[in-house]
Symmetry: C2
Subunit: 542 residues, 2 copies
């Protein structure tokens, strides 16, 4: 027997309807790409989104069409998402930090029809557009006064484009499983793979992330997503923030420490979210120039592991609570947040920081487990690590064009490619990537743990650990080190430094010194390239 | 194009899976019907729910079968919901406060197969069971040591029943729109009507109610639902509380002020929810015996309008924040909660209490509007009132057996039967029931507003206002008063007391004094009966 509840599909644009109706005067504040601070409201954002939807429809944009955006976090980018989704088309965020050839590859794979682009990226897109035959029109996110000379096809300013339609429009209605958004993962190997969010997953994820133990957002909050909308679905802030009617503060293109500090204080931001690099710049700015963060309640830190020292500085020096978080493009993206359950709530000092250095626990709707290579579940003892697998309604079941099928199993579990341990209260800590973990005599060694320790040596600038084939142990760790300029640490110095900090059998069999370690466009160590470089390496003892 | 997110249906029993896995040691504490405090955990609740599901299946209970419960809030009642839902059957909560013939009518309408009943209600059910031929077995929510002699068919203790199965069982998987629960409305007129919740609506509603601006629940909270699970889906607490892994504190059968106070303090409850009557008893107990509520953060008050004096006492005397709320059985049930948006956050004293006396604002997924009799939407100006209509995925689209079709319109709006005004920030205040509002010369007069003022007169024990036909104005208000014992207020006294407190044209055309005003089983004024009683009444001036 079916329940008798209303058939009210979870369509993402109903979020902006709610914000406009119930929190209509609430501000959406942006540092504009042109420079000045821009202020609007949810009512106005919705009105213009409707206008955009109507304009897109007049352009022949259909359900399922991909509309690319390459833009900073501003009200115009935010509006464009809702306008695009509201007619069943798909916002496709492009990451400007990728190599131009990668961007062209991605746009061709997605067959983007239109592009919304910020002034900043016009030169970049001019170098790419000719390689993307599907691209018919480029809307530049500015007004006519700021329009540049450009070779981009069909270039028009956003304000002019918008002005060609009125707001007398109703959102289309359709199945909640309709695609709403798209974001490509920038893997360290192989071609990028597209993740296709649905209206349902965006709504459910927005609802999930506002919970008190997650981002903890209410109408009286003022939330600044420094994390770009083009990074992993913008951590869902474009849905979560209007869903509760909180004030939105968009930082635009200015991500340096000074600009972020200015906006945090002038707009009395209460919650903010970004990767550790951004916070490092903020803390360095404050260290050099002084300042305080009296309005800021908590800062969400994810994208890569947050150093314990950063947690300590925020909490002890600035009285700002840190919420360490972990997620993936494939997960909409938030997977875990490190809020404190009652078992940990009373901890203080180092013990508290140690827990907060974990990536946290999963909310309802994110199922999580760790397994060995045979898919046997590993215990939650805070030590044993295994492949991290996740399942839930806001997690991908496949990549665009059904790529990467081997990452999804028959029971619906997605293999994150991370290796992690879980403690008895469900707190997860990532210890490595599964392809980087070193399998020595049937046991696993975390390359990242050794790297993190090695860079603690005063003369080590950067460190990487890879597994090298070994006749007896299958694999053993090799430590690759870039020395700090003007220093000459030896193998014995470095291994001596590790001694006592890791298990004996984790100790690298050798240390080699190099001038440089290869990185990806987004700054990750390219272990694949390293493994190629050391393909012929053999341990002195083997 | 469809999104590529996992097909993970929102099944209500996945909530207890999450609680058991991620918050497994968290306690579920109950005052038992037998007397002592009982302590268990989410892990154990889930284990026993699985056992129950297996046992029910062995009894031939099928998807869609109705299993009735007549029980206080305890761990056993809580377990039974999950066990029943987990095989696609339907928990059907019975309200023991209804008249026995109403209960029998409801059980026959629902065709309940099994009944889970508390010791308290065994005598009541013995008087009813013979009239319900579909009822094959009665499980008494106790152990063998406490089993009474009873004539109930197939009577067995819950613990024995449970012990007849083990916990080696997996929940069934099915469509998220499958019916999960059932609750009949106790209307003031006509037969009761069944509301059929789905798994999807229970999950979505649980997620909605935990938000910071709603019940604001996190894992470190200790929440006591005093509101019974049999009242309007237990205000969704059976889903919301395990969903975030908060400690559950069930009050069992002891709802008096002293018992509630003891549990609030001994179990360090941080959030609690009930109707005003319960809080009146608590406050009277504390007034007489002293005491404080140092752990209690906020109290949710709904079911009927919360008097401003109660809000003031909780906040000013006991430092407990009041969240006034409104909902309906048809709405899963929460419709609005009165948390303070930034526009009101700075208010103090009387101005704050005035806002908190409104029923509050609707969360995302509860659409709300007020209309006139022609379905024209009325402005949100805080004065104009109209019929209150709602729409959303956790709101009924029909009653069981498609009854009451006239309350649902073609656009999916449900007419609540209430009359309310909305202010510009979306705060709703109920002013009357639509069938009780008095329509005078095309304008509406709130019967409840006049009643609330009239009972402020020191000699008035109770007051009711009904509309009486009037040749010129269509209807005019008649005020019906029960005098306090030993007093003899006159018509002029009472009308003089109202003078200046309401608009001139709201002043009742007459006052009549009666010995008694008729009430329903649940204590509401029976206006239908009053209108019959005064059918032949004519105003002296008309």
């Amino acid at each position: 027997m079916l329940g008798l509840m209303q058939d009210w599909p979870l369509l993402a644009h109903t979020v902006i309807d709610h914000a406009a109706r119930s929190h209509g005067d609430r501000e959406v504040i942006s540092r504009s790409v042109e420079g000045p601070i821009h202020r609007t409201t949810y009512r106005e954002v919705r009105r213009r989104s409707l206008q955009l939807a109507k304009r897109l429809q007049a352009d022949g944009v259909q359900m399922g069409d991909r509309v690319a955006t390459m833009a900073w976090n501003t009200w115009r980018h935010f509006e464009s998402w809702y306008g695009i989704m509201g007619i069943g088309a798909i916002y496709h965020t492009l990451n400007p930090r990728l190599f131009p050839e990668q961007i062209a590859w991605i746009m061709n794979d997605a067959e983007d029809r239109l592009l919304f682009v910020d002034l900043t990226f016009v030169p970049l897109m001019e170098s790419i557009a000719a390689k993307v035959p599907s691209l018919k029109k480029v809307v530049i996110l500015t007004d006519d006064a700021h329009m540049p000379e450009t070779s981009l096809p069909g270039a028009v300013s956003y304000e002019t484009y918008l002005g060609e339609a009125d707001d007398d429009f109703e959102w289309l209605k359709f199945d909640e499983n309709t695609a709403a958004g798209m974001c490509y993962t920038s893997g360290t190997t192989g071609d990028p793979k597209g993740v296709l969010y649905s209206h349902r997953s965006n709504v459910l994820h927005g609802l999930t992330t506002v919970q008190p133990d997650m981002l903890n957002v209410r109408a009286s909050d003022r939330l600044m997503p420094v994390v770009p909308l083009f990074h992993a679905n913008g951590w869902s802030t474009a849905f979560a923030v209007p869903l509760v009617g909180a004030t939105m503060v968009f930082p635009g293109p200015a991500m340096d420490g000074k600009s972020i500090y200015e906006l945090l204080t002038s707009e009395r931001v209460t919650i903010t979210a970004a990767v550790p690099t951004v916070w490092l710049m903020l803390l360095q700015h404050m260290e050099a120039n002084g300042g305080s963060l009296p309005d800021l309640s908590h800062v969400v830190i994810g994208g890569s592991a947050c150093p314990p020292a950063m947690i300590r500085t925020f909490q002890e020096k600035y009285d700002v609570n840190v919420m360490h978080a972990w997620g993936m493009t494939e997960m909409s993206p938030v997977g875990t947040v490190c809020s404190l359950k009652p078992e940990y709530a009373e901890l203080e000092g180092d013990a508290r920081i140690a827990v907060q250095s974990k990536q946290g626990h999963a909310p309802y709707m994110v199922e999580i487990k760790i397994t060995d290579d045979d898919n046997e579940e590993m215990p939650w003892d805070g030590k044993t690590f295994g492949r991290l697998k996740v399942r839930g309604p806001t997690i991908a079941r496949a990549y665009y064009k059904e790529r990467g099928a081997d990452q999804f199993d028959d029971d619906g579990w997605f293999d994150t490619g991370d290796v992690a341990h879980m403690d008895r209260y469900g707190y997860m800590q990532i210890t490595d990537r599964s392809k980087d973990v070193i399998k020595s005599g049937g046991e696993w060694i975390s390359s990242i743990d050794i790297e993190n320790l090695a860079v603690g040596h005063p003369d080590v600038a950067e460190a990487a650990v890879i597994g090298i084939a070994h006749p007896k142990w299958s694999e053993r760790p090799l430590l690759i080190v870039v020395r700090k300029e003007g220093t000459t640490p030896t193998k014995e110095d470095v291994l001596g430094f590790l001694d006592g900090k890791i298990a004996k059998w984790w100790t690298p069999d050798d240390v080699v010194f190099v001038e440089e370690i290869p990185h990806t466009a987004t700054g990750k160590i390219q272990k694949v390239a390293l493994r190629e470089q050391f393909a012929d390496y053999a341990f002195p003892t083997a």
